[in-house]
Amino acid sequence: MRNGARRTMQLRLYVAGQSPKSLAALANLKRLCEGHLAGRYRIQVVDLLSQPHLARRDEIVVIPTLVRKLPPPLRRVIGDLSNEERVLVGLDVLPRSASGS
């Protein structure tokens, strides 16, 4: 088990309204967290359509973007999160070398 894995993972998902990609990303994220991080995660969804100023503050360009706020370092995963293994690697839940990314 890696160091950060025991602590609660704070995740923030940036979406733009109810677009299909945004909805898919949220569904994929929830399923994935329940499967691998049960009880050790928190998800905050940020809709940039209602809070556009956050795009600049949090440096968002791509929608959807998933940001691992805690534990550090900051990790960013973009896309609808449909590739579960890549998401887990991107969040440092799985080791990077394993997926060859």
Partner: protein, 521 residues
């Protein structure tokens, strides 16, 4: 916003008719010279593509466009940088005299930096750039921006792996910018084969400006060219531009030139015997005068006489010295009785000395324009103009001179250029190239005859004047250049040197009287 787009449609159709310049609304860039070649600026409410290689000035052009918009046209701007950080942009802009911090504080300018690093991103499935649209849209709305710069948007291709998606999103972005009604500059990096590495020119097709930087004989020259300007007259020629501590200056255009008014006011050459050779009393005001000759034929002395005469009239003279220092020139001229020091002290004469090789050709031209523009002299001397050839090709120098001459003519400035020709005649070609731009061309020589060198001057051409065709001998005296009386042989040829003295039966070679009669022929 949409009304702006709608309003333009019938106009652009009309532009096929006959008066395209009027049809298209334009946003002035405020960059000296650029608004002239685009007949008023960039297409208002549309994106313009500015492309060029690394370090060619794209970012600066974008920044200046925003700064001038914010300060002079009440059009706030958003700068979205994909390369330089906000901090770097501000530091770089400060070195060019722009205080971005102040503009930001007054909400006239918004800087944003987008950093996309593929190694820091994990891509998992489908995405789009809606975040960019929201971010830019919010930036535009928050300061009511009318201008936008995207520099360099192609970095998105580096940051994201899905090229097709990025292309599609960029196409959407440009449509969106148009719909927003903002005047935008989109910069693109040029590569060997394409205008932009990722074909941005396919999407931004209203106006395309190409920047270029070349190194010719160790001096860098920058060029700008308007490749395309839909619905508007523009000049497709390459024009030099300069980046210095005032920002970008694009050089004024050749074709401005023929609108100047010809005057009939005469200006003394400063040499008593020379004035009558031009039919009446010297040059016309606003003339461009070329005095060419090999080394030591008296070109600078002729220039000094002219300057001296102008200063005596109370006119301002600007002397560009490309060969000697001001102190050297004043010392040398004092030795032939022309004292320039009082004019320097009284502020009627300014000397600008610079080694030609210290700057590129266009840098010289811009410097000269700037000095002339700032000080508004009535008389300008360029001594010698040939030294500029050291920093440019013959064609470039000619084009540059054409611009400078037109610029001065429009202001009614009388200019004297000296031209150093080499003894073997090779540089005569330069003279021929340059002389077509000149109203007056005088040739100074020191031919060797009968074992002695003499000085002669002739007027090769003088537009609009019944000038003398004679080759006249002159001497350098303690009172400057003095033309000698004409002495003809039986066959009609002019005797010079000792031959002249022998014919006249006196030796006046050393102490000649300035002759007034001499021009009577």
């Amino acid at each position: 916003m949409t009304t702006a787009v709608r309003r333009r449609k019938p106009e652009s159709r009309r532009s096929n008719g006959g008066r395209p310049a009027r049809a298209l609304a334009k946003a002035p860039t405020g960059i000296a010279g650029l608004d002239e070649i685009t007949n008023g600026g960039l297409p208002r409410g549309r994106p313009t593509l500015v492309c060029g290689g690394a370090g060619c000035g794209k970012t600066l052009l974008g920044l200046e466009f925003l700064v001038h918009g914010a300060m002079e046209h009440d059009e706030p701007g958003v700068f979205l940088s994909f390369e330089e950080t906000t901090r770097d942009l501000m530091v770089n802009a400060r070195s060019l005299g722009f205080d971005l911090q102040r503009l930001r504080a007054r909400r006239r300018l918004l800087l944003d930096h987008i950093h996309l690093e593929r190694s820091e991103l994990t891509e998992t499935g489908e995405y789009d750039l809606e975040g960019l649209f929201i971010r830019l849209g919010h930036a535009i709305d928050s300061i009511h921006a009318k201008r936008v710069v995207l520099d360099t948007v192609e970095m998105l291709f580096t940051g994201l792996s899905d090229r097709f998606l990025v292309r599609a999103e960029l196409a959407r972005l440009f449509r969106w910018l148009k719909a927003k009604g903002v005047t935008a500059i989109v910069t693109g990096e040029r590569d060997a084969e394409h205008l932009t590495r990722h074909g941005l020119e396919e999407y931004v097709s209203d106006c395309v400006i190409l920047l270029d930087q070349r190194v010719v004989e160790q001096s860098a020259t920058r060029r700008l060219r308007v490749l395309k300007y839909r619905g508007s007259a523009h000049r497709g020629n390459e024009v030099p531009f300069l980046i210095d501590d005032h920002g970008i200056s694009v050089l004024p255009i050749t074709s401005l030139g023929l609108a100047h008014e010809a005057t009939t006011e005469h200006l003394s050459t400063g040499v008593a015997g020379l004035d009558p050779m031009f039919g009446q009393q010297g040059y016309f005001r606003g003339n461009s005068v070329l005095a060419s000759g090999t080394a030591g034929t008296g070109k600078s002395s002729l220039a000094a006489h002219f300057v001296d005469a102008a200063c005596r009239r109370g006119e301002r003279c600007l002397y560009f010295a490309f060969e000697e220092s001001p102190s050297q020139i004043t010392r040398n001229m004092r030795s032939i009785g022309i004292d320039l020091a009082p004019w320097l002290e009284r502020g009627l004469l300014r000397m600008h000395a610079q080694r030609p090789t210290s700057l590129g050709l266009e840098a010289h031209l811009v410097t000269m324009h700037r000095l002339i523009d700032n000080w508004q002299p009535q008389v300008v001397v360029v001594d010698p103009v040939t030294n500029l050839i050291a920093v440019g090709s013959e064609i470039e120098v000619k084009a540059m001179l054409a611009r400078l001459i037109d610029f001065m003519k429009l202001r009614g400035i009388t200019a004297l250029f000296t031209s150093l020709t080499s003894a073997d005649g090779a540089a005569e070609r330069t003279d021929l190239g340059v002389s077509s731009l000149m109203d007056i061309w005088m040739l100074l020589e020191n031919p060797e005859a009968n074992g002695e060198r003499t000085r002669v001057i002739q007027i090769v051409k003088a537009r609009g004047m019944a000038h003398s065709n004679q080759v006249r001998e002159f001497v350098m005296t303690g009172r400057g250049i003095v033309l000698l009386d004409v002495s003809r042989r039986a066959d009609g040829s002019v005797a010079i040197g000792s031959a002249r003295s022998a014919r006249q039966g006196v030796t006046r070679h050393r102490r000649p009287k300035p002759s007034r009669r001499s021009a009577a022929e």
